[in-house]
């Protein structure tokens, strides 16, 4: 969790060489509530930084999920079709959503690190 990078739309990304694994944060899943459905993209589609690639749906609301990086989707977490609640129980591990082959690692500079993200959440929560 400390080595992950974070977007201000509450997605995390784990980088391994040129490969990026993406999911939503614990803060996000907590606010969303029980996830009942995850809309996954198809393998092979292009994603762009800050653009939506799918959705996570809870008992009360549906939310777009944005990609923190641009690239090509090389894998999607099929487990989420039968067990969408993995997003709640294991947002950083078993609840991963897609894996992307990045086309520009430089984009990672725009993201927050763990401390910046924690602070960002605190500021956002205090506004409401």
């Amino acid at each position: 969790i400390k080595d992950l990078k974070y977007a201000d739309s509450h997605e995390w990304v784990k980088v391994d060489g040129n490969s990026a694994t993406i999911g939503i944060t614990d803060h996000a899943q907590d606010h969303l509530g029980d996830v009942v459905y995850v809309e996954l993209p198809e393998v092979g589609v292009t994603v762009k930084q800050d653009a939506s690639f799918g959705a996570v749906e809870s008992v009360k609301a549906t939310s777009d999920v944005n990609s923190p990086v641009s690239g090509k989707v090389v894998e999607v977490n099929e487990e989420l079709s039968s067990s969408p609640a993995l997003v709640n129980s294991s947002p950083y591990e078993d609840g991963w959503i897609i894996k992307v082959e990045m086309d520009n690692a430089g984009e990672l500079k725009k993201l927050m690190d763990a401390d910046q993200y924690t602070k960002f959440c605190e500021e956002e929560d205090s506004k409401h």
Binding site: H31, L32, D34, V36, V59, K60
Partner: protein, 409 residues
């Protein structure tokens, strides 16, 4: 995830790809300014107990507490739930003509209700459409107690008041009292009766579904109705507001923690599983009680005599059949939400979803909506469009989860 969307927790509005349905948003009456929201007598109690407060129909209400909406829903059916429904509007109609007065405005056979019994009814408009649904109770021949939806309060009170003015101008004897001095708690689930019995000397085993009594609960005079919005056995308790928190605490303590404070999120899941309409979604100004599947609520004598607003259209529908009917659906894929289009297997449009979600008890998607009459039989295969894609579904009977209303055997 959009940061802003995390905070729209009070709304079960689906993000729609192309159609921004402003009508739905306007109908929900959300106050944009948190400081203008009304608070019930239990507001601070909710917050102290972990309630996540959201705007709902102009009130600050708990959507959930520390447990999730799913856990809360399951707990209601396994043990019990305590809801603060004080946002709804309770009122009393009094006077020797209150029964004929009300009969002009609702489809129920009010005259035929035995004292101390009530029923679900619909306030109709001149076109036979629904102004609101309501549980009305005849306390005595000169006193009717009724509860209407929070979101319809202003509309309903204006409607009743206008009719009261013309009725009294012609010499009719009716007046009203709006119970803003009282709070309403709903206690639902298998433990509702055993827990409440600890707090009253009256024998609750003799109070059946739909019945009403004024009695002492926890040492305070309350209006008690054996009714609810979950499909479970339970009660709605109208208590003077200054004693509402005490009563809530007493109920929770007597249940030894098994009955939990439950919010509006679970309330919506429960009523959907029970096949009950939510006004604003499944019933609206243009929907008649016949279309909504509430023909049973139109008193037999009323079907013969009419005498309520919109009777002409409603009686015609009873005679010829309504053009659309409310039905239940099961569907795969993501939960179908309000305004999702329903097609037959060939892709022809046949109807629309008006409410939907994931059923915590059945662990599958459930929905209700309207389809063209003739195509409404249970088992009919359909396609439901969610966010631009069509998913397989089928029409089914409601309730989705069997009800447990306490009725004499």
């Amino acid at each position: 995830m959009r940061g802003g969307s995390l905070w729209q927790l009070g709304q079960s509005i689906t993000r729609r790809l192309a159609l921004a349905d402003k009508k739905t948003i306007a109908r929900r009456h959300f106050a944009s300014d948190a400081e203008n929201l009304k608070k019930t007598a239990l507001h601070d109690f909710h917050v102290a107990n972990g309630g996540k407060m959201v705007p709902f129909a102009g009130w600050s209400m708990p959507i959930q507490y520390k447990d999730s909406i799913m856990e809360s829903t399951l707990n209601c059916r396994q043990n019990g739930s305590l809801f603060d429904v004080s946002h709804m509007c309770g009122l009393s109609l009094k006077g020797k003509d209150c029964v004929p007065f009300l009969e002009k405005l609702v489809i129920a056979d009010v005259a035929g209700l035995a004292p101390g019994t009530g029923t679900l009814t619909v306030f109709t408009n001149e076109n036979g459409g629904s102004i609101d649904d309501s549980v009305i109770t005849k306390v005595k021949d000169d006193h009717i107690y009724l509860v209407v939806n929070a979101g319809c309060r202003d509309k309903d009170l204006a409607h009743i008041e206008a009719h009261m003015k013309s009725f009294t101008a012609k010499g009719g004897d009716v007046s009203w009292h709006i119970h803003d001095e009282r709070s309403l708690l709903a206690l639902q689930g298998p433990l509702a009766a055993p827990v409440l019995q600890h707090l009253t000397k009256d024998d609750l085993s003799k109070l059946y579904f739909g019945e009403f009594r004024i009695l002492d609960i926890n040492g305070v005079s309350c209006f008690l109705t054996r009714t609810g919005y979950t499909g479970e056995d339970g009660f709605e308790i109208s208590v003077p507001s200054e004693r509402a928190v005490d009563l809530a605490k007493a109920i929770l303590e007597k249940s030894e923690g098994k009955v939990r404070l439950t919010g509006l999120g679970a309330r919506d899941s429960l009523r959907l599983e029970a096949g009950l309409c939510l006004y604003g979604n499944d019933m609206e100004q243009h929907v008649t009680p016949v279309e909504a599947g509430l023909t049973w609520a139109i008193g037999k004598r009323r079907r013969a005599e009419g005498g309520f607003l919109g009777a002409e259209k409603i009686l015609k529908q009873l005679d010829e059949g309504p053009p659309v009917r409310r039905v239940g659906f099961f569907a795969g894929g993501p939960p179908a939400r309000s305004h999702s289009k329903v097609h037959d297997e060939q892709g022809n449009p046949i109807g629309e979803i008006t409410s939907g979600g994931f059923s915590p008890c059945l662990k599958k998607n459930i929905a209700m909506g309207y389809v063209k009459s003739g195509l409404h039989k249970a088992g009919t295969k359909v396609k439901i469009e969610v966010r631009g894609k069509a998913y397989d579904g089928n029409i089914t009977k409601m309730p989705f989860v069997p009800t447990k209303y306490y009725k004499p055997s």
